[in-house]
């Protein structure tokens, strides 16, 4: 009899500790969408690049790329920005919907902490990638993006689902491996931002969302 009460106490304690310190409405489905956008973006970039016969897809070493084609660079930038905006917008939309279902506020202490701890390393990484572009070390941009994104995920995982950490470590490792295969940067990028996201999102959706829906 007493035991039941204490068991209830324990589950209550666990729930309060989690609910007050972690943002648990992060949508897994949004990860799947982000992965799909990333793959579409990578395919488009690949088509553009192979038409120009340069950069990642060519056989010769592309750590330093001279004779940048400004038109190519701007269209690649447009692809990258569109992928990013679509992924973030989808994440916000689906996460808001999930938060409503959970009766959680979308913008509270937990989500604020999550956003700050995710974007702090990511912003540093983004600026670093711009520096790489500045010195025309284009080949290192894809590995650097994977590395910094992975570290941002590891950092953010303390403030949301722990599972996010595995995705972070996977991306960090992939980023390190990618440094040794500079010519295949785009493929590594598609694997990390595309395939990994889809796998992670699918797992999360199955684990936390489907049974409640």
């Amino acid at each position: 009899m007493e035991n039941k009460k204490y068991l209830n106490d324990l589950s209550e304690i666990r729930e309060m500790m989690n609910r007050s310190s972690r943002f648990i409405s992060l949508s897994g489905l949004a990860g799947v969408f982000a992965g799909i956008y990333a793959i579409i973006g990578a395919v488009l970039a690949n088509i553009l690049l192979s038409n120009h016969g340069s950069l990642y897809v060519s056989g010769d070493s592309s750590l330093n790329v001279d004779a940048e084609d400004p038109a190519l660079q701007s269209s690649l930038t447009v692809i990258a920005v569109v992928v990013l905006v679509l992924a973030v917008a989808t994440a916000i939309l689906l996460t808001t919907r999930k938060a409503k279902k959970n009766n959680q506020k979308i913008w509270d202490n937990t989500s604020k902490r999550l956003v700050i701890n995710f974007f702090a390393p990511l912003t540093a990484g983004g600026l670093f990638c711009l520096v790489l572009l500045q010195y025309e070390l284009v080949g290192l941009i894809a590995p650097a993006m994977l590395l910094f994104y992975g570290m941002a995920l590891i950092n953010a995982s303390k403030y949301t689902f722990n599972d996010l950490r595995s995705l972070g470590y996977a991306n960090v490792m992939l980023g390190l491996i990618a440094t040794q295969f500079i010519d295949y940067g785009l493929y590594f990028w598609a694997l990390g931002f595309g395939v990994f996201h889809i796998i992670y999102g699918g797992v999360m959706y199955n684990k936390y969302e489907r049974k409640k829906a």
């Binding site: 007493e2 035991n3 007050s20 310190s21």
Partner: protein
């Protein structure tokens, strides 16, 4: 067995007080509204339970003004953290011993 029960802390023997302590254990601080929303309790409810915990010296109250609005934030004291940890250990032991009795 007596020993185990004596470690069960009567100060935490209520859902709201348990909740307040749980929240303050994993957060640097929490303000009044946050506690209220997380625990789904009324103003009076939270006020009386925080007062009880404060009297035991388990939590600390800091009152300040944010944008000229009064803001009350609560922090767990070292005494409170220690007491709560002991309470958790006692709960765990109690449940484990219960399991053993049922099994044998």
């Amino acid at each position: 067995m007596k020993n185990i029960i004596s470690n069960i802390n009567k100060a935490f023997d209520h859902r709201i007080r348990l909740g307040i302590m749980s929240i303050l254990m994993v957060n640097e601080f929490a303000d009044f509204t946050t506690l209220k929303e997380l625990l789904g309790a009324t103003d009076g409810n939270i006020a009386s339970h925080t007062k009880a915990l404060e009297k035991q010296n388990y939590i600390k109250v800091e009152k300040s003004f944010i944008n000229r609005k009064p803001n009350t934030r609560y922090l767990a004291t070292d005494t409170g953290r220690k007491a709560f940890q002991e309470h958790l250990d006692a709960l765990e032991k109690l449940l484990n011993s219960g399991k053993n009795i049922n099994n044998s």
